[in-house]
Symmetry: C2
Subunit: 644 residues, 2 copies
């Protein structure tokens, strides 16, 4: 006994405290020893790879889960996304990194030969933390990219499938192939540095100088010179720079460079595309503000210049992909706002192009010139309205004049502006955001009652009554009271908005909230019965005068509030904006509304609410799922019951 005990084993028995018990990592019986060559070991020995739904916030500290096959459902004209998390089990990459992986993506193909093409319908982005929270989606090269992994850190890839409206319904399959590979530093050690290259250049030039002026020289000298050049050339070819090629005079085997092999991890993606086509024009307009001032400052463009028009155009087009209706905005005195969806005058062809785009559900018409043009505001406004009211797209137009009026003077300001507009077009829609009545002339004895009476007070100077969700709190029944005050029969609408409130646990788009909490903003709209949504804004960073300047959130606002995308320059040399996870979830929420609307069109609105309830997806602003499964169940149920 004594003898044995002198060489005891740490573990179950002793102070090892569970030593080896949670050993979920490397289970392979063949241990990896010494320097690890990723080209000779199964990537599964080097990497944990697992999938997560798009509503999960997966950060650097997330721990591995089981790898399960990916099975997605998407309608046509829908985007569906999934996340793949990668965490190194070991390090093989040398300095500073755990290792490099190559990620490759195939087209998704159906048995009948239809395809969803990588780089077009299938895109990969890297999830980058902002303030430590996964949020920015930085595009990756397609169809192959390399990623550096860091020790003890989980790296996350966001995969999106955009199904075109005309895509053949059916079952599609493809693969994501993940391969541990040599780091770039290692591969470039095989290349020539600038210094080596310059050395080589000089030697070759010297060779040339020796043999070049041969014409007319005595043949003895020619022979000598050629000999000298030949031996220089031979020396160059035998130099260490070309050592890789000595052994083999034949073609180099470049296969080694190809990381994809039987050692790779192959992740099957299976996608069912069903016949439902999401309407091109979103059923619920979501109007989202873009600060033109922020664009001007950050990109250093002057208001009204060609560059300025180009940048606004880029922002408009990019945001339109997200089923939202952008408006540009600059702030005036008080909370007066100058809002406009097109920076061009109404008679400019670009305005017509913008407004008649079927993806645009609503557009803001400015109540004065955006770029000074010599006209008075009055004249400008009259002409704009006169042009627009003759168009088919006029039904999408709205005027957003003032943000959150607080007193009689401000309410009167809206009345007077609205009167002017209605004088030119009685059917013009004025949108007013508010969360209370005028404080200096209470409309009722308590705040909520006063808030309820705003439509009565503002009528007919507002058609879209846009209220803060913060007012409702967790008392969803109040939505009914609000709607009761809206004369929908006269074309009035009730819209809602979120901003710095409501806070957790209510749905909003703040950084650090749960993924389902982001997505639930739109579930709430559906349940409460609002017919539109407003958000200010998508790019409200702290002031900066360099496109690639670090993003800072504005002081006094919850992180992420007012920011739905980032300038691409911050994350790469790309000019394209970088979406936030929250913008993707806004899109998902808008898509969920189309599913629910389809279901309601078959079985009635009440049944659609019942579906939200019975799946556990959304029951109220404090009772909604934190898991993804209920979302898939809802979507699956709509698919099962509504497919043709």
């Amino acid at each position: 006994g004594d003898h044995q005990e002198t060489v005891p084993v740490e573990g179950v028995a002793g102070g090892g405290t569970a030593y080896g018990w949670s050993d979920t990592g490397v289970n392979d019986p063949r241990p990896l020893r010494g320097a690890i060559d990723p080209m000779k070991v199964s990537s599964l020995e080097l990497l944990n790879v697992w999938c997560m739904p798009n509503s999960a916030n997966v950060g650097p500290q997330d721990m591995p889960r089981e790898l399960e096959p990916i099975s997605l459902l998407a309608a046509r004209n829908e985007r569906e996304s999934i996340q793949i998390a990668i965490r190194p089990k070991v390090s093989w990459g040398g300095s500073g990194i755990a290792g490099t992986v190559q990620v490759q993506c195939t087209d998704l193909c159906s048995p009948c030969g239809a395809r969803l093409v990588v780089g077009q319908s299938l895109t990969l982005r890297r999830v980058v933390p902002v303030l430590g929270v996964p949020d920015a989606l930085v595009p990756l090269d397609m169809p192959v990219c390399q990623l550096n992994l860091f020790p003890g850190e989980t790296t996350v890839i966001w995969i999106s499938v955009d199904v075109p409206s005309e895509q053949t319904p059916g079952h599609y399959e493809g693969e994501i192939i993940i391969s541990a590979t040599k780091s770039e530093a290692e591969s470039t050690s095989q290349s020539l540095t600038k210094v080596e290259k310059h050395q080589l250049y000089r030697e070759l030039r010297d060779c040339l100088d020796v043999v070049e002026p041969l014409k007319g020289r005595p043949s003895e000298e020619v022979v000598e010179r050629v000999k000298s050049a030949t031996s220089s050339l031979r020396r160059v070819l035998l130099s260490p720079s070309f050592a890789d090629f000595f052994s083999d005079y034949g073609p180099i085997d470049m296969m080694e460079e190809d990381a994809v092999s039987s050692l790779s991890i192959r992740l099957k993606i299976s996608l069912t595309v069903w016949d439902f086509v999401l309407p091109v024009t979103p059923s619920v307009p979501a109007v989202i503000g873009i600060s033109d001032t922020v664009i001007e400052d950050r990109f250093g463009v002057e208001h009204g210049t060609n560059e300025w028009f180009e940048l606004l155009d880029q922002h408009f087009k990019w945001l339109l992909q997200y089923r939202i209706s952008p408006y540009f905005c600059r702030w005036g005195n008080g909370m007066r706002v100058l809002t406009y969806t097109s920076p061009w005058p109404a008679d400019h062809p670009k305005s017509d192009e913008y407004f008649s785009d079927p993806r645009l559900a609503a557009y803001a018409v400015p109540n004065g010139p955006i770029v000074p043009c010599g006209d008075t505001a009055k004249d400008y406004l009259r002409r704009e309205v006169e042009i627009l009211r003759t168009k088919n797209h006029w039904k999408k137009a709205y005027f957003y004049l003032w943000d959150e009026p607080l007193n009689i003077e401000q309410y009167n300001g809206i009345r007077s502006m609205a009167s002017e507009i209605h004088a030119y077009a009685p059917d013009a829609r004025i949108l007013t955001t508010y969360y209370c009545g005028p404080s200096d002339a209470p409309l009722a004895s308590n705040n909520f009652e006063a808030f309820l009476k705003v439509p009565e007070f503002l009528r007919p100077h507002t058609q879209i009554y846009c209220t803060s969700e913060w007012v409702i709190g967790n008392r969803e029944d109040l939505a009914k009271d609000i709607i009761a005050e809206i004369q929908t029969e006269n074309g009035e609408e009730w819209w809602t908005y979120v901003c710095l409130g409501p806070g957790d646990p209510h749905p909003n788009w703040h950084l650090g909230m749960r993924g389902t909490q982001h997505r639930a903003v739109m579930w709430r709209v559906w349940k409460e019965g609002g017919t539109g949504f407003l958000y200010w804004g998508a790019n409200c960073y702290e002031k900066a005068t360099v496109p690639s300047a670090e993003i800072k959130f504005r002081r006094g606002l919850p992180p992420g509030d007012g920011v739905l995308f980032y300038p691409g320059q911050v994350f790469s040399s790309s000019q394209q904006p970088v979406a936030s996870l929250r913008l993707e979830r806004l899109l998902s929420g808008l898509q969920d509304i189309e599913y629910l609307k389809l279901y309601a069109s078959r079985f009635g609105r009440d049944e659609s609410l019942n579906l939200l309830e019975k799946t556990g997806m959304y029951q109220g602003p404090e009772r909604y799922t934190s898991e993804h499964t209920p979302i898939d169940i809802m979507r699956g149920e709509v698919y099962r019951t509504c497919r043709s």
Copy 2:
């Protein structure tokens, strides 16, 4: 009025919510536009750089502060450290990173020509987060290194100065030079890839083939062949691969490659070395355990093989730099431990080398063979003791037999093992760790009284009573009660230990605790009057069988508990262990004890405690500084009053 208001300015007036107000970033009047060339812009426009004391935990989310000059004080044979934080103001690096910086370090020089040499006395390490908390110190290349910065992330460099014992006291100055530079990817775009290189190689070989067998050929053919080769060579030289060099036939200006210039940020380091030499042998032995089992598993070496001895040797030597006395340990049944500072038998020259190293303050003697050797445990123990007790270093020896006995059987086990040892050497020191008396035979009516009576109960079978700080809680006065039970006049000692307890806010080495909390572990030892300290252990990671396997902390333990360093392989291709911040703070704490001891030797122990109190550095386990300043004040006061 109307006209003006149509082009309002976002900001103070309106919904911009403090837009531009916290603009502490880019203040430069010349805005950076378009692609940023780091070689043409002052690095200060691209980077925030600031310094932080070594007791600060500076993570990726830390925000910039004012850059202040670095002024350090260090004794001889002391290590003093400072942190430099770098955060990009903008991105210039292209894909995935904000940009690359080059960090360069000069020697520290005194006016009389003495030097602290970069790479030897001056080292740079990168602070790498573990579980999101800054902890691992990964060595950087010296004297120049490149670092990638990430958007919105603070990168931290840990600079240590190790002052040799024989260093000339005086004032030293040097510089850290930080330069934004082109990313490696960009610079390598100027180099030849393997494919281009191979192409070039083939073309040159073809040239050679054409001209090589010229001997004996008709001169016409020679001329033709040389012509052909010459034109091939000319084509090669004009190829895009060498395009960089076309413009200039003279020597290339390689200065561009040198990132250090007037654009760099130069950070002055000023260091006062004073004449005090920290004793080579630490005044308070800190014995720190290393799991041999973990080494065996992770590095795949078999117990007792040459590789095994080499690895243990490497660990011993590396840890000895930290003023600590390592012991190796493996666990037996119950909480029996086999502890040994030298893996070799006592008569092996390496054991003598280990034990007589003046930096080693205490060593563990095993009570049986570590590697089976044919001897019985009894015989082996007797021979070890007989050899060691004749040596000068025998006074450093201790026997650590059992960890935290809990019942009479375990206490009896210690008694019987100790009796055997004392039979061979009556002056042998047995160390016993405990936090309570035997549960099945209470020594008193309450737990703390029973704990107090352990020395009386164990005597004479233990000389070093090593108790958990957890027992004391915040009642520092209990330390006096413990000491009252120790017969110091008979050579008995009171040591302490921390492990999973005590928890926050008490001093310990858990990840996520404040830096001063880590350092205060040793302040506490000094204040309470313990004469030694024990910690298990330095490398108690979860089981892994690959050197570079991800570090996992053991289940059920607070993160960082039992882990003071990491295998270098996890972070780079280096074999050298990577220190944790917590290990550096253990060292700093041990150095603080030497300062306090020096002060006590001049003014008495009470005055040293008074100094701790009046600086606000440490007053008790729940009352110690969270700021660094009191530490500098204490050190400055010792310097002021004790320098010669």
